[in-house]
Amino acid sequence: MDTANGNATTASAAPAAPAQPNGHREDPGGFKLKFCTVCASNQNRSMEGHLRLALANYPVISFGTGSLVRLPGPTITQPNVYKFNETSYDSIYRELEAKDPRLYRANGLLNMLGRNRNIKWGPERWQDWQVGMPRVKKETDKGFEGMEGGVADIVITCEERCWDAVIDDLLNRGSPLNRAVHVINIDIKDNHEEASVGGKAMVDLADSLNQVAKEEREKVGATAFDSGSGAARASFDERVPEVIGEWQERWPNLPATWTLAWF
């Protein structure tokens, strides 16, 4: 079941990836929004999103907002707990595999960790992220291309709690970079199936947003000559709520919240 799930993930995403963003890539302007996915432990939902967005050729990084990385253990009171930024997915994988391979294979953890260790080194904590710190030494990360500057245009959280944590943290930081960022929450339940659905929804949202952003980039030069129609002249930032509203109609089971915050 677990492997089937994993295969389905990669299988469905892999063909989809070249199909969708291909058009984007062939574009001469080739503008791409930079994304950041956030969940509680930077394991399941944000990593699913990270992978999907990376496969769709978007620059992407991911974080967790929890105090520690928590993974289910043998009982509900015995979770496996790891430190952010210091533990690699690979070491967690090997530890769990040594503990109880049957259990962790059956509940999908090993499969998930196996996927994650191919995406990046280890879980990172949002609150410890120094926004704007160049990420030049992360070439092996999926979605690295375009993320060198260490900032994102769009932050997608996977749970209201994480959105709250992100906003609260940004308020505390005091926005030293003067850079606007759209923070969007998509409520995704923390299980493999929902994460997979959520990942698809994220790519859909990313495509819609990027389309609008690209239009802005391509158009503005032209509008200097013929000032196009009102709707087309609206900027990317203005059209974000509209795009989310339309996206919400397509994904009614993933309630979304949005705000414009500052890095």
């Binding site: 160049p134 930081r173 005091g174």
Partner: protein, 770 residues
């Protein structure tokens, strides 16, 4: 470099990106690379290059890799380019947005540089020009540019107001007005602060207008936190402004998907800011937290209402749809369509008489002819819903219809009663076996007797089976049917009298009343008392229960203790005196007063448990007692017990045991209670025995003398008494007395001397007599 049109733009961008990567990899290159690209991105370059350049400048000036000091030379070198980008590029929002963001990062750095290098007027002039240019294009600019303008204004406000030093020291956030020396040749702190105030107002304008533009509202709200936290001079203004902002204004407009997103966004962003303030903002006077808390709660409630209502509506619609699709319901509709009156009125014009024979309670109260409604099982509706429906129906019901219905039911009940009486008589006459078949439990409740037609004249065969089925569904179990069959237990409603309550003897009554009293004290421990600072002084106009807090509850308690049995005690007292001729015993009022007495005892213990802070309660209580005594006196009942004096004495005695020299509350207590007596003040004398508390007693008395003229004589008498009794207190007492009763001390001295002589003589005489 700008003059290399031979190189295609893509190629140039590729090179520029490679250069950028180099800077990102090694921050040491920043200075050289930034200065190197400046000519490429100048005002004459193509739009792509300008966009790239503006964004690169914004990124470089904001990078956390370099410290503010490192950024100085970088920043100063780009000012010229920034200025020309802002001035040359009128239309391209991307260039403007990034340039203004770069300017926002540059502003504090330049300000810091100018503070320390006042000779560099050129840099300051450039910066001022950039600033005025940005502030000029702010209004009317495209949305992304306005976003950047908001942020730029925020950085200017941040830099030009005084800091409280609680911000983190990076990104130039700590650069503030406090760093500007008062005699700086270029910078005038007062003008700068005035400018900051103006800009803050301009920023907050979007909130004051209650704008629907969530983008600008969110952008503004999300950069206010650091101002509130670290720039105290701005926090009042901002918090008041946000508290007056209503993010849910859009709720009245059509709920399009976009509007929903906008409204949710503004509400949540406002709430997050407020919660962040509650958590992080150190509010010295705590003046805002209450209001902020209330605002957050109100927001959450309104939000829940708005979105919940939408949810509820959908649910109801779903339910309705499900019901219309329901097979059974359709059948019912068919059935009623077959009946002559498909749209049966809710209220029949005539209330049909009941069929003879036993009836269910439901049948007795059923007025409708509609078989569908008759079969409806009302118990399936939750009780709270029923209550709502009933309340609403009663509210809108026509009085005449109600009267009509009530009379109809009443007449039915009369018939039933009459029938029951006759049936009982029959039962008594013939015995159970002789009963007619109408009481057969298997058929009676199903309503299939031949007389049914009277009851439901429009019944046809199809309805019959339907109804039988329904009734079978709802039929009570066999045993219950047997009970129905018993004519005495049936709904005959014979005469019924409620059993008289058991008699309560004095013992039980007193136990119950003390239990009741103790329950009244229950909530006190859980009720929070309001902070002493914000207590409104309602004074005499106070209502006992204007709010559910400790104060109101205590007022209720004191009034219950003093006044609840007003007028009852007297009667008992009189009865007692007339019957037993006992002297006025303060303890033995049997019934009504036990409650009061035990209540008073509890109040007394409550106060003494922690008497210093609860002295206010004591004063309030005694005031009530005094008032009650006055009322009692006015009724003219001679033997009515008076409580004020007793309890005042008991309370004072209670405090006395614990009092220390620091307890100024004693002075307050004596000053505030409504009436003083010689005995009461006499208790103070015990304090004079101890040199520690002597001062307190005397101060309290002096206070009374000075501030309470009606009690002056009484207090002076007490001081006199103290002078006489306590040797140690004499100097102090004499000081007061000489001021307020000149000559009294001397008189006493004489008297005492005379007494001493007389006493000596007396003793001598006694000795002689012995």
């Amino acid at each position: 470099m700008a003059s290399t049109p031979a190189v295609p733009i893509e190629e140039q961008l590729k090179q520029l990106n490679a250069a950028r990567k180099l800077a990102l990899e090694n921050s040491a290159y920043y200075d050289r690379i930034v200065k190197g690209v400046l000519p490429v991105i100048g005002p004459t370059s193509s739009i792509e290059l300008k966009r790239w350049g503006a964004e690169f400048l914004a990124e470089s000036l904001a990078t956390p890799v370099l410290s503010v000091r490192d950024k100085e030379s970088l920043t100063l070198s780009v000012l010229d380019t920034l200025k020309s980008l802002l001035e040359s590029e009128q239309d391209d929002a991307i260039v403007l947005k990034a340039s203004i963001a770069a300017a926002a990062s540059a502003y504090p750095v330049v300000l810091r540089w100018i503070i320390h290098n006042s000779y560099h007027t050129e840099a300051w002039e450039q910066t001022s020009a950039i600033k005025s240019r940005i502030l000029r294009i702010w209004d009317g600019a495209p949305a992304p540019v306005r976003l950047s303008c908001i942020k730029f204004a925020q950085r200017v406000v941040l830099a030009q107001t005084t800091s409280n030093g609680q911000e983190v020291k990076y990104g130039g956030l700590d650069i503030s007005l406090g760093m500007v020396p008062a005699n700086h040749p270029l910078l005038d702190p007062r003008l700068m602060e005035a400018e900051a105030t103006g800009l803050l107002d301009r920023m907050l304008g979007v909130l004051q207008d209650n704008s629907n533009d969530a983008l600008l509202v969110d952008a503004t709200l999300n950069c206010l936190s650091i101002l509130i936290r670290t720039r105290p001079s701005t926090s009042n203004r901002i918090i008041n402004c946000v508290l007056n902002f209503n993010p849910l204004k859009l709720a009245n407009s059509p709920m399009t998907p976009k509007n929903k997103v906008l409204m949710k966004s503004m509400e949540k962003t406002t709430r997050m800011l407020m919660i962040n303030i509650l958590k992080r903002h150190v509010d010295p006077n705590n003046q805002h937290s209450g209001r902020v808390q209330q605002y957050v709660e109100r927001l959450m409630r309104s939000r829940a209402e708005i979105f919940d209502e939408a949810g509820r509506k959908r649910q109801l619609a779903d339910q309705a749809a499900a019901q219309y699709g329901d097979l059974k319901r359709q059948k019912m509709q068919d059935a009623s369509a077959a009946a002559p009156e498909p749209a049966a009125p809710a209220q029949p014009a005539v209330i049909p008489p009941l069929t003879p024979g036993p009836q269910t309670l439901a049948a007795v109260f059923t007025l409708t002819n509609n078989p569908g409604l008759q079969a409806f099982d009302a118990t399936s509706i939750p009780a709270n819903l029923v209550a709502k429906i009933v309340a609403r129906t009663l509210n809108t019901l026509d009085q005449s219809v109600l009267d009509f219905a009530v009379n109809g039911i009443r007449s039915r009940l009369h018939t039933l009663q009459a029938a029951a009486v006759t049936a009982a008589a029959q039962y008594a006459a013939h015995g159970a076996a002789g009963l007619p078949g109408a009481f057969n439990p298997a058929t009676a409740p199903l309503g299939v007797e031949e007389d049914d037609d009277d009851y439901e004249p429009n019944l046809d065969a199809a309805e019959d089976t339907e109804q039988i089925l329904n009734k079978l569904d709802n039929a009570p179990p066999e045993t219950a049917l047997d009970e129905y069959a018993d004519p005495n237990a049936a709904l005959g409603l014979g005469p019924f009298t409620l059993a008289p309550p058991p008699l309560i003897d004095a013992d039980v009554a007193s136990k119950l009343s003390s239990a009741a009293a103790s329950r009244l004290f229950g909530p006190l421990s859980s009720l929070s008392s309001e902070g002493p600072s914000k207590k409104p002084k309602a004074g005499i106009n106070r209502l006992a229960a204007s709010s559910y807090d400790r104060d109101s509850w205590l007022t209720v308690a004191t009034r219950l203790a003093t006044r609840s049995t007003f007028g009852l005690e007297e009667e008992e007292q009189e009865e007692q005196t007339s019957a037993v001729k006992s002297e006025e015993g303060a303890v033995s009022h049997p019934l009504a007063s036990t409650f009061n007495q035990s209540f008073r005892e509890m109040l007394f213990t409550y106060i003494l448990e922690d008497w210093r802070p609860r002295i206010e309660v004591a004063v309030a209580w005694l005031s009530e007692e005094w008032y009650n005594d006055q009322l009692t006196k006015r009724t003219g009942l001679r033997n009515a017990p008076l409580h004020y004096e007793t309890w005042a004495l008991r309370l004072l005695d209670g405090f006395m045991t614990f009092i220390t020299a620091q307890d100024k509350v004693l002075t307050r207590f004596l000053a505030e209670i409504p009436e003083l007596s010689g005995e009461l003040l006499g208790r103070l004398k015990t304090l004079c025995g101890d040199p520690n508390t002597l001062g307190l007693a005397m101060t309290s008395l002096l206070y009374l003398v000075m501030m309470r003229p009606p009690a002056r004589e009484l207090a002076l008498d007490t001081v006199g008494g103290i002078w006489v009794e306590y040797e140690e207190a004499r100097p102090l007492a004499a000081k007061y007395l000489s001021k307020w009763r000149p000559g009294w001390v001397e008189q006493q001295m004489h008297l005492q001397a005379a007494k001493a002589v007389a006493g000596g003589g007396g003793n001598g005489a006694a000795g002689i007599a012995a």
